[in-house]
């Protein structure tokens, strides 16, 4: 049986949802409260890392495979660049906050492009840190099979 003991598996299957939701809330409220795209992205990645430690690598790869994670990583980077380029199209300057005049401060939907950039960075950082752990785990597998030979 892959992974850890049944105690760890049960707790992990309860806690994973809470960790994921906490990551989403940190990303979404990044422009109002402490937090933001990077911190929220790391929390999103750590919920998957918890699953990987508790249930083994194959279980996680069924949910989010290595090519899919790469695609999500590229998507996040592309979205962030797209927000910057849209600033050039609508505002005339690269990275200008062109949506700020349509919103009131201290609301959830406020601050123009800042929450959108937070979401893009959250997707990007989460997927890439998940990829780091996944690639290192495959690399570690190679080392252990080299030893057996």
């Amino acid at each position: 049986m892959k992974g850890m003991t049944i105690i760890v598996k049960t707790i992990a299957s309860w806690v994973k949802v809470l960790i994921f939701l906490f990551g989403i809330s940190i990303v979404l409220f990044g422009h109002l409260t402490p937090g933001g795209g990077f911190a929220g992205g790391v929390i999103l990645a750590s919920s998957y890392v918890l699953l990987m430690l508790a249930f083994g690598r194959e279980f996680v790869e069924k949910n989010l495979s290595l090519p899919a994670a790469s695609k999500i990583d590229c998507l996040g980077a592309f979205l962030f660049a797209l927000i910057a380029i849209l600033g050039f199209v609508f505002g005339g300057v690269f990275f200008v906050n062109y949506l700020v005049k349509y919103s009131q401060p201290l609301r959830l939907i406020s601050a123009g492009t800042i929450p959108l950039s937070n979401i893009a960075i959250g997707i990007k950082v989460g997927a890439s840190l998940f990829l780091v752990v996944l690639t290192l785990s495959i690399f570690r597998l190679r080392q252990s099979t080299d030893k057996k030979e």
Partner: protein
């Protein structure tokens, strides 16, 4: 403020143990103690953004480091150091310490903003016009995603490039390995 200094001394002791211990696993655990101590320190310094980032990155890097150590055989750092090298490094550390004291004398007092001493610096603009310019209540988000957007783009690019490099380097061997396991 007393707890601040207690925490500082705790972190310094943990860092010394992390450098000096011969067991790699306890070294990594001491490194984790330093990281969590610094995240508590950031809360005392009223920087909750950095504290959150510090604590989550610390957890993830500790997991990676401990997995990497458990995967390989525990190695012990041995070998005696020469007396001359110790003297040289102590002298260099003392010179850096004196330079650091000189630098800290120029900083403003704890809790005061820098633009009371130097009017017209960028931080003054950020704090006074941040909410009106960007509409973001969290001034950190306003700075890193609006005023300093290029920095964040560069940081995201560095992360992206490192991931692309790592996956390309490890892809071929990993694929072969997975095929072998399936057989």
């Amino acid at each position: 403020m007393a707890i601040f200094y207690i925490l500082l001394i705790f972190m310094v002791i943990a860092a010394i143990i992390a450098v000096e211990t011969k067991d790699l696993l306890s070294s990594v655990i001491c490194l984790g103690a330093v990281g969590f101590g610094s995240s508590v320190m950031f809360v005392f310094l009223r920087a909750p953004d950095i504290a959150i980032t510090q604590i989550v990155v610390e957890v993830l890097s500790l997991i990676i480091l401990i997995r990497a150590i458990i995967a390989r055989d525990l190695t012990f750092i041995t070998g005696d150091r020469e007396f001359f090298g110790v003297v040289i490094s102590v002298v260099i550390i003392f010179i850096i310490f004196l330079a650091g004291v000189k630098v800290f004398e120029t900083l403003p007092a704890f809790g005061t903003t820098i633009f009371e001493k130097l009017p017209g610096v960028a931080a003054e603009t950020y704090l006074k016009k941040g909410l009106a310019d960007t509409g973001a209540a969290n001034i950190i988000a306003a700075i890193i995603l609006d005023y300093r957007g290029y920095d964040t783009l560069g940081e995201a690019t560095v992360l992206f490039t490192s991931i692309v490099g790592a996956t390309v380097l490890m892809r071929e061997k990993g694929k072969k390995l997975l095929e072998d396991i399936d057989k």
